[in-house]
Each structure stands twice: as C-alpha cells, then as structure tokens.
C-alpha cells in the first residue's frame, strides 16, 4: 500500500489541562481542610458545633469523596489529557467534549459538596452520592471515554505506550465498578435503596471500594508515573518489558482482592481465602512497578538535591511501594484481626493518598506549570519547603495512626483469665487511650495542608501575568497511519493466540471444577491443546508475536481484552454470592424485617453517617464475641439495603445493640453522649429531638423494599401510618415513664425504634442442604 506523508503542525489542547490542574489544586485544599476538621473533631467533639451539617458523620464522606473524585480525579484528568495528546501525537478529538467533561465534573463535585453535608447519602463508603448524581457521573465518564478513544482513533503514533494502557484500564474498569455498585431503586428524587442487600451488598461494595483505590487512585497515577517520571528524569523508563508485566499482572490481580475488606466476617470463607490469596499476590506487580519507577532515576539521583519535581516523584513512588507492601500484609487474616476496624487502616489509606497520590500530583503540577504558562517556576525554594513540610506531615500522620491502630486493636481484643474475660471491657478505654494521637494526626494534616497552600501560591505566582501557551508538534501524517494494519474486533479475537488461551482456561476450569470422567476428559483436552499449540508453532512457523504487536496498535481489541481480564475477577466473586440460595445461607438466623418506623429510623441512621464510626458485624474472633455476643451470621443482615457492616470502630459495634439498654439510655446518649459515657467523642444530636420523622414516603419505601425481596406484607397508606403512630406512642410513653418527655413523632423516637431492633432475628433450622462442608 502506498503512503503519502504530509507534514502537519498540531496544536495541543492544553487549556483543558490547565483547567483540570487548577480545579485539582482548589479541591485538594477543600478536601484537606475538611479532613483537618474531621480529624480535630475526633480529638475535640465540640468542633461538631451541634450543627447537623458539620457533624463528623456527614463531613467524613465529604472528605473522602472530595479527596478521591475531586482532588485526584481532576489531577488524573489533567495528567491524562496532557500525556495522551503527546504520546499519540494528536490533539484531543473534541474541544466540546473536553469542555463538557470539565464543567460536568465540577458540577458533580459541587452537587456532592452540597448534598453530603445535608445528609443525602446512600450509606455506602465512597459511594454515598445520591442517584441523580450517580447518573451524571456515568454520563460524564462516558463523555470522557468517547473523547479519549476518539483521540486514540485519530492518532499519528501507531504504538500505544504503556501509560495509555493504564488509562484504558482505568476508563473501562471504573465504569464497570461504578455502575454495578450504584444500582439502586429510587424512592424519591434524593433517596434510593441499593438493589443488593446484606452479604451481597457487602461483597459488591468492597469489590467496588477496593478497586476504586486500584483503578481510580492507582492505575491512572501509574500511567502518569510512566509518562512524567521519564520526562522529569530525562531518561527512558528502566525496563519497558517490566512495565508490560506490571500492567497485565496488576489489572488481572487487583480485581480479585476486594474481599480482604471483609475478613473474619460472615462472608463465605472461600471468598475470604480468595481475597487474601490475591492480595498477597499483589506484592509482586506492585513492587515491580515501584522498582521500575525508582530505577528510572538511575544516574539522575544527584538531581534530587535541587529538583523538587524529582523529589516529589521519588517520594511518591516510594510511598506507593510502602503502601502496597502494607496492604497485602493487612490482608492476611491474622494481621487483619488486629488491624481491621482500627486506625491502622486509616494510616494505611493516608500513606497511599497523601504520599502516593498527593506527592505525584505535586510533582506533576510543578513540572507542568512552567510549561503551561511558559515561565520558570516562581520559587523552587518554596517547592522544596513544600516537600519537606508535606513529608514530615505524612510521617506524623501515619505514625500516629499506626500507634493508635495497634493500641486499639490490642486493647479491644485483649483477654485475661485464660481468654474468658475481656481485659478492657469498656470500649471507651480504647478511645481515651488514643486521644493524644488524634492531636498528632491533626498536626500532621495541618502541615500537609500548609504545603498545598504553598503549592497553590507558587503556581498562582508562576501563572499570574504569564501567557498561557499550548504545546505544538510537527508530525508527518501518513496514510495508512497503522503500520501493522487495523485489526478490528474480529481480527483481535479470531486468531490462534486468543483461541488457544481461551481453550486452555476452559479446559483447566473444567478439570478443576468437574469430577470423574468429565474432569478426566478436560485434562486430556488440556494436554491435547498444549500439544496442538506446540505443533502449530513448530510446523506453521507462526509468528504470533505479530498478533501482539498489532494489538499494541489497535486500541479497540486491546480495550476489550482488558475488560475481559477485569470482568473475570468480578464475575467469579459476585455471581456465586448473588445467586446463593438465601434460605440455605442464613446460618441458623434470619433477620426480622424492620417495622415502618424502624425503617424510618434506619434511614436517619444512614443520613447521619453513623456507619462511619459504628460497625454492625461481630467477627469470628474471641475479642469480638466476648464484647458483643455471638458472631454475626449471614442471615442477620439479608434484608439490609444497604448493609451497614462498617469499616472502622471509633465507637462500639452495634450488631446486637437492640435490647441491650433501655430506651431512655439512647435518649440521653443521643442528646449528650458524655452524660452516659465519659470521654466519648461522639457528637450531640439535638436536632433529632425537634425534627419530625419523615413518614410520608414510607409507603413508597416499603414498596421498593418489597420489590427488593424483603418480605413485607401488603399495607395500605393508612395501615402504615397507624403502625408508625402505635409504635411511636409505645416508645414515647416508655420514655415518659423514665422521665424523658418528647413528642412521639420526633426523629429520636424513630432512631430508638431502629436501635432497639438491631440484632433481632428468628432462629431457623435450615433445610438439609445437598452438600455442606464444615469449615473452620
């Protein structure tokens, strides 16, 4: 085929890069300010100000969402737009889509910043945003995807550099995770119930939650590392081959590791083993990536003394290595027994977010600013000061959380008298023992925030009065642009390497999963496939490498293969749990559905974000069982949409709270926790005593619950109202007898109704299953 080369000048769209970068810095400061506030609230409860929209339970989701989606999200988009255009030697496909992407994403963040403090929440971590915002996120993500893949389609560089692979994996996987975990049925414009419940919801949530870290906070930043680190060091990546292994291993392994967030819980044991196994396997690719990054600096280490960009990158990659070493360690069941529900987890995620994401962002911004505004960085000294201040801030934060977490873990699981009695029966002892560490954590956060103020000032001074410039490049546009020729979907799949791979996976699965003759046949077929493949290579002289090289130049089949890699992990984990027969999987206890008033109380519990500090899951551990009662069974939360197992215990577990204390105890505790529990850091909730319970929507909410499989009887609107009034009256009368006067229709009554229901379940003798195995 003849080619005609035309020399063309391409101007990159760096305006969008500048916009995302400025937005990222702005939202970083917002997210960190809120982070510092919520950290100090854990040391001084008075900073909750008795205002609903400033309480810890509502602000913590704002902090996490702002840090992930606003700060890192905008940073990621800036890095992707800048590097992709240069790596593929083409301007972003559509300026209009870029604008829609930028302004749509900012509108989503503003909507989140308004709705979360107002208490509009789905009650699932990092997935709190209400359903209309979820739809907006999906739409804007699709706009981004179209713009990205369209740019790849019109590229002038045939090969796809490894950074582009990481971006493709991010786009595909985040879309899949976000959509599945946000499947809900609306009950109003601002409220919905997730379609999954109990253990299913727990599994889907942490499949999403863990992979939000993997594919939103890690893979795009790795792509950024593979582009910007060689640029800053002015030398190619240490090993391109290692980067390929890093990519495929990471993409294939990460998706399986979600269940490590649910170790020692009522999640099926095989899933816990799966999560732990794949988490441990993550050590290899993660450290491969870290070493590849650090070794790229070989011969350039002397530059670290003076170049703040390289300082940030080197420290960021090191933090990546440390966090990805710590993560698998915490996924070992025995270690997790100590670390889970404690501040250790908080320290771990902050070493990742502040150290890896924050420092990579800072390095990238300091590198980009002089190029985007065509002027030297205002102050290198200030950038260096930012580095040291931020580094000391992270170390103070993480070290204090480690000490606090280990202290909490040890105290709450400690027993005496041959393991029959708790050494520290009062939960509050663990809270007061670690209070001083909360001050150190807040100090570390303030130092890190101060560093970002310096960055904002430095970049503002660099850009102020300077001319914003767009990069340009001269390229020879050739026809056809694809040296190896386009493959198309058909060419990507109907070829020997893919067919042999699929056959090998199919027969291996059959060999392991089937029994007897069928298993033997699969083994025979597997051996035959290997022999056939060897013969094919030998006699046909097949150069299958050509297929892979063509794949690297064809983004569509490459994207589909990446999707297949992540789909397999998701399907193997989620499908068996979703199709599990509920009747056989309740472990002897089946939750009693909430009454309408209790359901209203549960919605208040979710609105106030109680799950941020209280779990509802008693683990299969001695300390948990002695403190809270018999360990939680799968059946005890099957009707919980959403599940509320939690991930952190700043306060005690509430799985069996019902009936533990009289109504009046909860009444006083919610008004002023310190009246009941001296030293508590829980906020006061005075508004619950004045706001009426929202019961108008209950008929609709119950109808949705019925559709989700909760066995509510058909009830008319009047019957529901009567049921609510009756239960309110009983609780209010009981409170009055105990000396606490409150109107029956106030929210505190509904919340007490819910709290008193926690842990109530029918004892069921399960039908004899066909095959059961004793485990543990």
């Amino acid at each position: 085929m003849t080619t005609t080369a035309t020399k063309t000048l391409i101007e990159f769209d760096d305006h969008t890069v500048r916009q995302f970068m400025i937005a990222s810095i702005f939202w970083a400061i917002v997210a960190m300010l809120v982070g510092v506030l919520v950290a100090t609230q854990l040391a001084w409860f008075q900073l909750n100000f008795n205002l609903p929209w400033l309480t810890f339970g509502r602000l913590r989701p704002l902090h996490t969402n702002a840090a992930i989606f606003a700060f890192v999200g905008n940073m990621m988009f800036a890095g992707i737009y800048y590097s992709t255009q240069r790596l593929v030697k083409a301007r972003t496909a559509s300026d209009v889509l870029s604008k829609i992407h930028f302004w749509g994403w900012q509108a989503i963040i503003v909507a989140a910043a308004i709705t979360l403090p107002l208490g509009f929440s789905r009650g699932k971590e990092y997935a709190e945003l209400i359903w209309p915002i979820n739809i907006a996120v999906a739409v804007i993500w699709v706009v981004f995807a179209i713009n990205f893949f369209w740019t790849l389609a019109k590229r002038n560089e045939p090969s796809l550099y490894v950074a582009i692979w990481f971006y493709i994996a991010t786009i595909i996987t985040v879309a899949m995770l976000y959509i599945v975990n946000h499947l809900s049925i609306p009950t109003s414009f601002t409220h919905s119930y997730p379609v999954f419940g109990g253990v299913q919801d727990a599994l889907v949530q942490w499949w999403y939650g863990h992979n939000a870290v993997a594919f939103f906070l890690t893979t795009p930043i790795l792509g950024i590392m593979y582009y910007f680190l060689p640029k800053a060091a002015d030398r190619p990546v240490y090993s391109y081959r290692l980067s390929i292994v890093h990519f495929w291993s990471l993409v294939f392994v990460y998706i399986w590791a979600g269940p490590h967030h649910l170790l020692n819980t009522s999640l099926p044991v095989w899933l816990q083993s799966l999560g732990m196994l794949f988490s441990l396997m993550l050590w290899a690719p993660s450290w491969g990536g870290m070493l590849n990054g650090l070794l790229t600096l070989r011969g350039a280490w002397h530059k670290l003394r003076t170049d703040p960009v390289l300082k940030f990158f080197a420290a960021g990659v090191t933090f990546y290595g440390m966090a990805t070493f710590e993560g698998p360690l915490m996924a070992i069941r025995a270690v997790n027994a100590l670390s889970h529900y404690s501040d250790w987890t908080i320290g771990h995620v902050h070493s990742g977010t502040l150290g890896w994401n924050g420092f990579m962002a800072a390095g990238m911004f300091y590198w980009l600013a002089p190029r985007l505004w065509d002027r030297r960085l205002h102050s290198t000294s200030l950038a260096n000061m930012h580095f040291w201040l931020g580094l000391v801030g992270i170390l103070l934060y993480v070290a204090s959380m480690w000490v606090s977490g280990v202290t909490q873990g040890l105290m709450l699981s400690a027993t005496k008298e041959a393991g029959t009695v708790l050494a520290y029966p009062n939960f509050i002892d663990a809270v007061t023992s670690t209070k001083a560490l909360m001050h150190i954590r807040a100090l570390g956060g303030v130092m890190y925030l101060a560093g970002f103020f310096m960055l904002a000032w430095n970049i503002w001074k660099t850009a102020r009065g300077a001319r914003a410039v767009n990069g340009t490049i001269e390229v020879f546009v050739e026809q056809p642009t694809h040296v190896a020729g386009p493959m198309g979907l058909r060419g990507g799949f109907i070829n020997p390497p893919v067919i042999y791979s699929l056959l090998i996976i199919l027969f291996t699965t059959g060999w392991a999963a089937l029994t007897g003759f069928a298993s033997g046949m699969c083994l025979t077929a597997l051996i035959a496939t290997f022999l056939g493949m060897s013969a094919h290579i030998e006699f046909s002289g097949a150069t299958w490498g050509q297929w892979y090289e063509r794949l690297l130049e064809n983004s569509l089949p490459f994207s589909v293969l990446t999707a297949v890699a992540v789909f397999i992990g998701g399907i193997v984990q989620i499908v068996p749990t979703v199709i599990i027969n509920k009747a056989e999987s309740i472990e002897g206890r089946r939750q009693i559905p909430y009454t309408p008033l209790e359901l209203a109380g549960r919605d208040i519990y979710i609105r106030e974000g109680c799950y941020n500090c209280h779990s509802q899951q008693i683990r299969t551990l001695v300390g948990d069982v002695l403190r809270y009662g018999d360990y939680s069974k799968m059946g005890e939360s099957i009707y919980d949409h959403p599940f509320q197992w939690g991930s952190k215990r700043t306060g005690p577990d509430l799985a069996r709270e019902g009936g533990k204390y009289p109504n009046v105890w909860h009444f006083h505790h919610m008004r002023d926790p310190r009246q009941i529990s001296v030293g508590s850091t829980m906020p006061n909730y005075p508004w619950l005593f004045t706001q009426p319970t929202e019961s108008d929507l209950l008929p609709h909410k119950l109808a949705v619950q019925r559709r989700l499989g909760v066995p509510y009887p058909e009830m008319t609107k009047e019957e529901i109202a009567r049921d609510v009034a009756t239960q309110e009256g009983v609780i209010a009368a009981d409170l009055k007898t105990a000396g606490a006067d409150v109107e029956p229709d106030r929210e505190i009554v509904a919340l007490i109704a819910y709290m008193q229901k926690l842990g109530k379940a029918d004892k069921i003798t399960p039908p004899e299953p066909a095959k059961t195995t004793a485990a543990q």
Binding site: L87, Y161, D234, R235, Y240, W248, F278, I505, G545, M634
Partner: protein, 58 residues
C-alpha cells in the same frame, strides 16, 4: 464455637480456578514480553521523550 457451614464444594474450587487462570495469563504474558523485539522496546520506551525535541511552546 466458631464452626461455619454453608461453604459448598463447587465454590471452593473457584479459588483454585482463579489462581490457575491468573497463572496461565501471567505465563503467557511473560513469554510474550520476553520475546518482544529489542527495537520495538527501544521505540516504545522513548515515546515520552520524543516530544521534548519536537515540541515548541507558543
């Protein structure tokens, strides 16, 4: 005290199948990567650096 039921045999094999699938994918990828032509590796690893010579600021 902590006896757990409900684990069915076919689910247990999923852990092993998962491991096997990963092993196969990993090995196939490793073989492929090790056989990647040296010139192509050099071209790919220099992609981020190429623009430094061509790129101009306006």
């Amino acid at each position: 005290m902590f006896q757990r039921i409900l684990v069915e045999d076919w689910q247990r094999t999923l852990t092993m199948i998962s491991f096997a699938i990963f092993g196969i994918v990993f090995l196939l990828m490793l073989v492929r990567v090790l056989r990647l032509p040296r010139e192509q590796v050099r071209h790919l690893e220099n992609l981020p650096l190429q623009n430094d010579h061509d790129e101009k600021s306006r």
